[in-house]
Amino acid sequence: MDEAPIITKGRYTYVHDVRIGSPEAIDVHHISISRSVTDFLSLCSYALRLAAACFPIFALMQKTMSVYDLLMLDKPVAIVFWSFVVAGLLIRQILRKQVKKESVIILPAFGVQLETVYRSGKTVHQFVPIDKILKSVLNECVTPVTCYWSLSLIIRGEDELLLAFKGLYPPITMLVPIWKALCAAIDDKKGADIPSDCDNR
């Protein structure tokens, strides 16, 4: 097996892996995002701000509420403690939703598997049979504040494009080799097929 080429740009790392499979080699492309120092600092500042937002809410809670006594909210120390607990829980929820790595696994003549690995350890898989893929495209997405490249698959019978990378915004240098590999796999499949005219649209 050849040495896996690695491209690193900013916080994104691209790894291309070719695994021995049957009948042909399986093409695997991973893109992962690393945590940076600024990330950690901004997380701390978010936590502090959320905690500060919780102080007045707890302080204003009425004595008549049952949780008031349970949490001992008449003491200022308790208010500070519970504020940090709530902020910590909210931050943990946000972190769980963060994507750590996304992969595109091309199984030639079979299909494409899209994997998303979250920081919480959860992995989500999505398999698309090769027959259902019409084409893979590199799209420029425009939002009200920015413009970025995305790799998508046009699926037969579907109105919307299927994004290959749902949580990450990798740079174009990393998307192009994956796009090339997808196009090659789709073209190979088309070439091998007997042309049929059943277009169900």
Binding site: G10, E140, C141, V142, P144, T146, C147, V176
Partner: protein
């Protein structure tokens, strides 16, 4: 890598395809002709319904439909600084050298020009319409225009009347304003192959039926002309709030068989309607430049128009009859035009217009303006602020504050997302394949 002397232009306006109109057509045709001259042109406008994101038009003209919702009369919601991030991203990723804004009424244009100046780009502004001075709306808009034009590199107006109007409204020195008239696509607007008989005279009116376009004048003029000349018929194309008045006039004078109301005519069908007539009637109350009469003349129609704004500058005197915006004067002008009809040669008129007006000529002249704009010196914020201070006692200070805050926001944005992190789009030539270019650029 851009070629020597070739520019990378960003056209910005709230008005573009799929809307049809003078400004929209101007931007489209000018962009196509500039691309033929070797320049790179990108257009930026707001999203129209589902049409959002990047689209490519004929010749590889790239259009950014930015998803900012229009809030009033097709204009994007003015947020002062809201569009700074997306404009900065587009300017960096497309490696733009010059920003060209269109139409004083477009909020997106004003914001784009402000941000482009803050970031050090050269800007050119084209004004397409005439505006008043007296009402509240005009006073406000003139102040906004003064702000934008205080620091513009060059300005373009579509007629000398428009130049006077713009210079008076904005206080811009006249030396910085160029006059480049609009043009017409003479390949599309051709006369009928078979000459119409003069037995029945057909007068065509195609315009939006609104107050500004003189629809109220038509209500007075049409019955009088029908009364005086029995062999005259009218074809009225277009829609708008004043259509009801025209329908009522038709009923009142029983002119159903002599006045055809076609409703809104799609731009692609305008030529087919024009060639069914002998005379084109334009009753606008104000026009900076009237492309409609140019289209009519290109189709071989004799034009009767109100003498307002820049209209007298558009056509030679022998193919247009001008009148004051008064019903009696217009009726006399129509009578004069009917008498002149036998002398008109439609093919000769079309050829004349072809020689006088062409979008390629407009593009070449605009290129000269761009070259002049790029020769202007680069100035820092401190050097530019005095220009804003001179806009007024209170307004001047306000404008300076706006520019200082814009500058600070830009610097913050550069800290948060440095310029080098914005990926540059490779040059694409659609005929040779965008992806071939990308492979060459990214080396794989």
């Amino acid at each position: 890598m851009s070629l020597q002397g070739k520019h990378r232009i960003l056209m910005v306006s709230d008005f573009f395809y799929p809307n049809f109109g003078g400004v929209e057509n101007h931007i489209y045709y000018l962009s196509q002709c500039l691309m033929k001259l070797g320049h790179k042109v990108i257009v930026m406008t707001h999203a129209y319904g589902n049409r959002s994101g990047v689209r490519y038009m004929t010749g590889g003209l790239k259009v950014y439909y930015v998803p900012w919702k229009p809030f009033l009369l097709q204009n994007t919601l003015p947020t002062f600084y809201g569009t700074l991030p997306i404009i900065r991203t587009i300017l960096i990723r497309e490696r733009i050298t010059l920003v060209h804004g269109h139409q004083a009424f477009s909020t997106l244009c004003h914001e784009a020009l402000m941000h482009a100046r803050t970031m050090g780009y050269k800007v050119v502004f084209t004004d397409h319409s005439l505006y008043g001075f007296a009402d509240v709306g005009s006073i406000h808009m003139n102040k906004v225009l003064q702000f934008t034009l205080a620091d513009v590199s060059q300005a373009i107006c579509v007629s000398h009347t428009s130049k006077e109007n713009t210079v008076l409204r904005s206080g811009l020195p006249p030396e910085r304003v160029f006059v480049i008239p609009n043009a017409v696509d003479t390949a599309m607007f051709k006369p009928a192959p078979v000459r119409l008989s003069n037995h029945e005279i057909v007068i065509v009116v195609i315009s939006r039926l609104v107050y500004r376009k003189g629809a109220d004048l038509l209500v007075e003029v049409i019955p009088e002309v029908c009364r005086l000349h029995q062999n005259v018929r009218f074809i009225v194309g277009g829609d708008g709030p004043k259509r009801v008045r025209l329908e009522e006039m038709r009923e009142k004078h029983s002119l159903q068989d002599r006045v055809d109301m076609l409703g809104a005519v799609p731009h692609a069908k305008v030529q087919s309607v024009l060639v069914t007539g002998h005379i084109f009637l334009n009753s606008s109350l104000t026009e900076a430049f009237c492309i409609a009469i140019l289209e009519a003349a290109s189709c071989g129609l004799l034009t009767v128009s109100t003498r307002v704004g820049g209209i007298p500058e558009v056509l030679p005197d022998d193919i247009i009859v001008l009148a004051e915006p008064d019903p009696n004067d217009m009726v006399m002008a129509i009578t004069k035009a009917i008498d002149l009809l036998p002398q008109i040669d439609t093919e000769e008129m079309h050829n004349r217009i072809k020689k006088l007006y062409s979008w390629h000529n407009v593009a070449k002249r605009t290129e000269i303006v761009y070259d002049r704009a790029l020769k202007c010196s680069n100035q820092s914020l401190i050097d530019r602020l005095p220009r804003y201070l001179s806009c007024g006692a209170w307004a001047g200070k306000h404008f300076c504050m706006v520019m200082i805050i814009d500058f600070l926001l830009w610097r913050l944005l550069q800290l948060w997302q440095p310029d080098r992190n914005v990926e540059v789009v490779p040059d694409s030539n659609l005929t040779s394949g965008i992806w071939v270019q990308m492979r060459m650029r990214y080396n794989w």
